[in-house]
């Protein structure tokens, strides 16, 4: 392996390098622990590639700024933690409604409120799905290592561009601050997706046209296309509407563009599941403890496997049901008081027992704790 293609990076640093690789050129944010290094790295590295970094007055402004930047055609991102993620929700909803691609990183810490600034948590899992009001479909990805963070950030940008929607990256304090030597891909090694631009002349352009995949081509402001953007429910021309038929068309568009193309979004890591009688389901840093626990348990002949959710939203109900079909028990391990476990219960038939393993004291679940739980349920 070539020496110059490996680099010692922190999780937060890998997020920024991955983002720049994917085409990030505008970052607006308000630093908050444990995400601060993302802002710092953007301030340092974005100007080197002709990009812009701006520290905003708060998280409301940060979110607004990245939406505005995206409208001009730039790939944009912000990074925050729970308290800031709450403040961003109004404008995240605006981006869902107006279908403006952007990436929001939430490096999770303990909550609610200002909670535990320096401690790890996964308690914003549901907020990434239902954080803002109204009906919409959300996409959220969850890396679990420094190397993952690089590639999942690329994937988050690609999904945002492909589906014209905000994408949340759910990191946590452990991954964000960990350092590892990671491979740095060459240009072209990973596919980079860019939003589809209109091919019709401006006078024929319909900004929210219903296409085959429900995603409308999006010009950059200043490229000669004039159109109206509003958070009010709008028709295909972008103007607000109270017409029931037009309302349904808009909301179905938001739903269908993601629902009907879930295969492009789903990503799981399935490990040792072929003959597993018990499975761990986890995501983020906890999935590393699960992999460790399973490799140890397998070494003494226990039939246990793990399923790691890289894509959290949309939730992989069907895939999970299929993979767990031969399991008797499924343990859902997460750093909260029970969030994704409810989705796992919805996914699996009643004869599979779904059991919780939850930790919410600011520390990470350890392989030993997972093995103890395994002993308990076997």
């Amino acid at each position: 392996m070539a020496k110059n293609k490996r680099k010692l990076l922190q999780g937060n640093g890998a997020c920024v390098q991955g983002a720049i690789y994917a085409g990030l050129r505008f970052f607006a944010g308000y630093p908050i622990t444990p995400s601060t290094e993302i802002a710092e790295n953007c301030a340092r590295f974005l100007p080197q590639v002709g990009g812009r970094f701006i520290q905003m007055e708060d998280e409301l402004g940060s979110m607004a700024a990245i939406i505005g930047a995206s409208v001009t055609g730039m790939k944009s991102m912000t990074a925050t933690s729970g308290p800031g993620y709450s403040l961003m929700q109004e404008n995240i909803g605006y981006a869902y409604m107006t279908e403006i691609p952007c990436v929001v990183v939430n490096v999770q810490r303990g909550g609610p409120s200002t909670g535990l600034p320096t401690k790890v948590s996964q308690s914003d899992t549901m907020q990434a799905r239902w954080g803002t009001h109204g009906d919409y479909n959300a996409i959220a990805v969850a890396p679990s290592t420094v190397a993952d963070t690089f590639t999942e950030t690329i994937r988050a940008f690609n999904l945002a561009e492909r589906f014209r929607t905000p994408v949340t990256i759910l990191l946590d304090e452990v991954i964000a601050h960990m350092r590892a030597i990671v491979p740095i891909p060459e240009e072209g090694e990973y596919e980079i997706v860019n939003r589809v631009k209109p091919t019709k002349p401006p006078e024929e352009y319909i900004p929210y046209e219903i296409t085959e995949n429900f995603v409308s081509p999006m010009p950059g402001y200043g490229e000669g296309y004039r159109y109206h953007i509003t958070g009010l429910t709008h028709n295909t021309l972008g103007f607000s509407t109270n017409e029931p038929e037009e309302i349904v068309v808009k909301l179905d568009k938001l739903k269908n563009k993601i629902d009907k193309f879930q295969d492009e979004i789903m990503k799981l890591r399935v490990n040792n599941m072929d003959d597993a009688e018990v499975a761990f389901v986890s995501y983020g840093s906890v999935s590393r403890a699960a992999l460790q626990a399973v490799s140890l348990a397998r070494s003494v002949g226990v039939k246990v496997g793990t399923i790691q959710l890289y894509t959290i939203w949309p939730f992989p109900y069907d895939k999970l049901r299929e993979i767990c079909s031969r399991c008797q028990k499924v343990i859902v391990a997460e750093l909260n008081m029970g969030q994704i476990i409810h989705e796992v219960r919805r996914a699996l038939p009643e004869d599979i027992e779904v059991l919780p393993l939850q930790r919410y004291d600011g520390e990470i679940l350890t392989p030993t704790q997972l093995l103890e739980k395994l002993e308990e349920v076997l």
Partner: protein, 191 residues
């Protein structure tokens, strides 16, 4: 009935865990980063570093962990230490319990006086740094040299290169010397 798994497991996996511990300002984090870069340089080993963070890092004992494996590192944090470096009494008292049975204990005997075991490697890193390398600041690098000699986990040349890459300009000679004396003195102790 509960099944016993934990008792049966032998943690003889391909995994080596190092903790550098001391108090804030002793350069434990610097040491761990340098160690990571030196070990990961050739690409044959995977390496992950983590450290005390927040209020924990500002208190008395501070630590930085390095996990090394030639396979994929699943759990990134230390579970049972193969090597503990303790640069202060407080760090030793706090972290000794995390050391594996037959794990390697390395202590700075200029600052640590009470040993929990007879089985340890002791060198006065701080004193060596001050008197022989020219500055107390490089005690961490003296210790790195010793770890290098005691474990063979990293090549001395790679470690020197990694230290010099990150050390402030003008301190190269001092750091090189610190690493050499740590290495040479530890070699004499090696069992």
């Amino acid at each position: 009935m509960a099944v016993r798994i934990l008792d049966k497991i032998k943690t003889s996996q391909d995994r080596f865990e190092i903790r550098l511990s001391g108090s804030g300002g002793q350069g434990m984090i610097f040491g761990s980063v340098v160690l990571c870069e030196a070990i990961g340089k050739e690409g044959a080993k995977n390496v992950v570093q983590s450290q005390s963070y927040g209020p924990e890092a500002r208190g008395g004992a501070s630590k930085a962990d390095v996990v090394i494996s030639s396979e994929e590192i699943y759990y990134p944090k230390a579970m049972k230490l193969d090597l503990l470096l303790a640069m202060t009494q407080e760090a030793l008292d706090k972290y000794y319990k995390d050391l594996k049975e037959n794990g390697i204990l390395v202590v700075d005997t200029s600052l640590v006086t009470e040993m929990p075991t007879k089985d340890y490697y002791g060198l006065p890193f701080t004193q060596m740094a001050r008197e022989e390398a020219g500055h107390v600041m490089v005690a961490n690098v003296v210790a790195l040299g010793a770890i290098c000699a005691l474990t063979g986990i990293v090549k001395k040349e790679d470690l020197i290169e990694a230290v010099l890459l990150r050390a402030p300009r003008g301190t190269e000679d001092r750091n090189r010397k610190a690493l050499e004396i740590g290495y040479n003195e530890a070699l004499k102790l090696k069992k």
